[in-house]
């Protein structure tokens, strides 16, 4: 019988393929993008000379007025959609945390939107928002009558249209996370509060909210990362319009990289976006750690 593999060799055998894949599909593209961001490379002109432009692309991105408009649109989308999803998701989670008739049916029904593909959601909401035959306009007119209005063609309404659709789609996801948080609260805490004759508000403020807080921060973290790179839903729904009022950073990035083929410039933009989302995530994770330590 030959001697078997050592524990260390066996460990490398198992971990090796994963590390190789990680290097090939995550680390290498990141380093490659970083390198490209310092050049004038254009993917549609492979034969052209590639020149080192230093921080030129970064300077151009940061001084581009249009990019700051895209960042403002992204910030509006992020802050409004995440706030709404948290409020509604928490409300739904509190509701579903109480047992009632047809509880299972409603739990599943509420989850349906997040099971759909974002591009599909964007497409059918586009029809819902259609001013002449869309069901959304019909319902709004049924309850009040603002007359003909165009959710997607109006510069004031369209940023809210994308927030609304994203909230419709992803509130169930936030609800699911928060429901897990609510179910993890030990019942004896509420029993002790009952003995102390604590009011419902006190129980919520002193027990429920602090205990669920790590899950809330997790939900914020996940939605932050997801919505920062949101593309397909908004692309289908508004295509960045009208004008550029819903042109999120991700849509701008795609246009620069794969329509204008400014590969070096778009690589710099991608790195800046990466740093921004990394920074935001880091702050959120630190906050999460602090909450957990309390």
């Amino acid at each position: 019988m030959g001697q078997g593999l050592s524990d260390r060799a066996l460990a490398w055998l198992f971990v090796g393929p994963t590390i190789l894949l990680l290097l090939a599909f995550n680390i290498f593209p990141l380093i490659w993008t970083l390198w490209l961001s310092f050049t004038n490379f254009r993917a549609n002109r492979p034969g052209a000379d590639v020149l080192w432009v230093g921080l030129g692309n970064y300077s151009r991105v940061l001084n581009d007025e249009a990019i700051w408009e895209n960042m403002r649109a992204t910030a509006h989308f992020l802050s409004c959609s995440i706030t709404l999803q948290l409020l509604l998701g928490f409300g739904l989670a509190l509701m579903l945390n109480r047992r009632f008739r047809s509880h299972s049916f409603w739990s599943t029904a509420i989850l349906l939107p997040m099971m759909l593909a974002p591009a599909v959601v964007g497409t059918f909401w586009k029809y819902f928002f259609e001013p002449q035959y869309g069901i959304f306009n019909y319902i709004v007119n049924f309850f009040g009558s603002p007359g003909t209005f165009t959710m997607l063609g109006d510069t004031k309404l369209s940023p809210w249209a994308i927030v609304l659709v994203d909230t419709w789609m992803w509130t169930p996801y936030v609800m699911l996370l928060l429901l897990a948080g609510l179910r993890s609260i030990p019942p004896y805490l509420y029993e002790a509060a009952e003995i102390d004759r604590a009011s419902e508000w006190t129980k919520f403020w002193r027990i429920t909210l602090p205990m669920v807080m790590p899950f809330i921060i997790l939900a914020v973290l996940f939605r932050l990362i997801e919505n920062f790179k949101m593309f397909d839903l908004v692309d289908q729904l508004t295509n960045g319009g009208p004008g550029s009022v819903t042109e999120l950073a991700s849509i701008k990035l795609k246009r620069e990289a794969f329509e204008k083929w400014r590969t070096g410039y778009s690589s710099a933009l991608a790195i800046i976006l990466f740093v921004a989302i990394y920074g935001l995530s880091l702050v959120t994770v630190r906050f999460l750690d602090r909450v957990k330590q309390r």
Partner: protein, 445 residues
């Protein structure tokens, strides 16, 4: 014996397999893939190409991509040196980049060898679809599908005596296809929000799409008509005072007025399909669209036949229409270039070009266009001929995609989103385009 039988059976099976394999390989070699946009003319070409297969035994395979994704899909294919397409019917604006980057093969020698003369084709289409650099005789495509932007109108609505009388009382002229942009706007206003047969209707469906090329293909029509030039005709790439000059500003301002006064609600991201939908569903009195769609409209059960008429782009200071259409090219990365050239040789024949027109394609061949009776051959033939005499095209530079996207943004921001003034929009566009040409080394920094 049994052993012999087994061996014979095995040998026969091997031979059959080899035969099948070589047959399949031969069939593969005798097959061409043609790439184009997915629309009515493409279906007509499928029918027409059956004759080519019958004559040569070459099977035709097609890759048709919907218009909104066509440019990106095909340009990605070319940039990645893909072998998907042997033949490509590519948009006129791609010719600069396709020639400069070497994606298409140059056809001059082939044309000379096979006595294909570019003088046999309508000059505007040769200039628009085949040549690069412009003004030279370097040919990269054979004009395949002539096209321009024009209008359809509801002839039956225009003919109603009650509307005729009301219009005459209001504007002191007949309700007839407009000859000028001001007249078109008046007609649009006349129909806007009017109730006809119990249904609310609107003035005109025009191009306003943001994502690909829609609003540019629309707004350039009024900008050309008001006298806009992309650059100084005497000094290439000198754009100041031309693309942002008073004529261009007036044209852009007019297009916004048209958008504000006369389009259906929610018409803020409309291109070919959306305009067709608006028109075919009886929502609008007039529709801006490429002439390539007119055969389908003429046959439409709801609005076709006597209900629809066609007119060329109205005049401003000058008469001008945005060029559409495409030339057919051989992709350099194809392994079947000779076979692809055979197809072009077949397609260039006058008899095939006549069949192409009869099938619903828009031939650019003079033999077809100058044939007696051509103008009366269909209800839209005169509009096609007249439009092709006044066409102008967008930049066809290798950086056309960047130039186009900048125009899409600047004009959509102003026309649809109402941001700033037309002068600010075009000053911004001048800045964007100057940056692109500086990057290309065509303007010295």
């Amino acid at each position: 014996m049994k052993w012999l039988n087994t061996r014979s059976t095995f040998a026969a099976a091997m031979l059959a397999a080899l035969g099948l394999a070589s047959g399949a390989a031969q069939a593969q070699n005798k097959q061409l893939t043609l790439c184009w946009a997915a629309w009515d003319p493409a279906n007509a070409l499928v029918e027409l190409s059956k004759d080519f297969t019958a004559q040569t035994g070459v099977q035709m395979k097609y890759e048709f991509v919907p218009w909104p994704n066509f440019a990106q899909r095909m340009l990605n294919e070319l940039n990645s040196k893909g072998k998907l397409c042997d033949l490509l019917i590519g948009d006129s604006q791609w010719i600069g980049s396709a020639a400069a980057e070497g994606h298409y093969i140059k056809l001059n020698e082939f044309f000379d060898k096979n006595s294909i003369k570019m003088s046999d084709f309508m000059p505007a289409t040769v200039e628009g679809y085949s040549t690069w650099p412009k003004g030279t005789q370097n040919y990269w495509a054979l004009p395949a599908m002539g096209d321009a932007v024009a209008f359809t109108y509801r002839k039956d609505w225009f003919a109603r005596p009650d509307l005729q009388a009301e219009f005459k009382a209001k504007y002191n002229r007949e309700l007839a296809p407009p000859k000028t942009w001001d007249e078109l706007k008046q007609i649009g206003q006349f129909f806007q929000n009017r109730t006809l047969d119990g249904k609310k209707v609107y003035g005109a469906a025009i191009y306003t799409e943001r994502g690909s090329e829609g609003i540019t293909m629309g707004v350039t029509n009024t900008m050309y008509a008001y006298g806009m030039e992309y650059q100084n005709p005497k000094k290439p790439y000198d754009m100041k005072g031309f693309i942002n000059g008073p004529e261009a500003v007036a044209g852009l301002k007019f297009y916004k007025e048209l958008f504000d006064c006369c389009t259906p609600p929610g018409h803020s991201n409309a291109y070919m399909t959306e305009d067709l939908d608006s028109y075919k569903s009886g929502q609008v009195a007039m529709q801006m669209n490429f002439i390539a769609f007119f055969p389908g409209i003429a046959k439409d059960p709801n609005v076709g036949g006597e209900k629809t008429g066609f007119f060329t782009m109205p005049k401003g200071k000058i008469a001008a229409a945005q060029l559409g259409g495409q030339g057919i090219s051989v992709v350099k990365y194809s392994d079947k270039k000779d076979l692809a050239l055979e197809y072009i040789k077949w397609f260039a024949q006058p008899s095939v070009q006549q069949k192409w027109w009869d099938a619903g394609g828009f031939s650019c061949h003079n033999a077809v266009l100058s044939k007696p009776g051509f103008e009366k051959s269909t209800s839209y033939a005169p509009v096609f001929l007249d439009s092709m005499k006044i066409v102008k095209d967008f930049w066809q530079e290798p950086s056309y995609a960047q130039l186009l996207l900048a125009m899409q943004k600047r004009t959509h921001d102003y026309v649809v989103a109402g941001k700033g003034t037309p002068q600010e929009a075009l000053d911004g566009l001048l800045k964007d385009w100057t940056e692109v040409f500086k990057e290309d080394g065509k303007i010295k920094p």
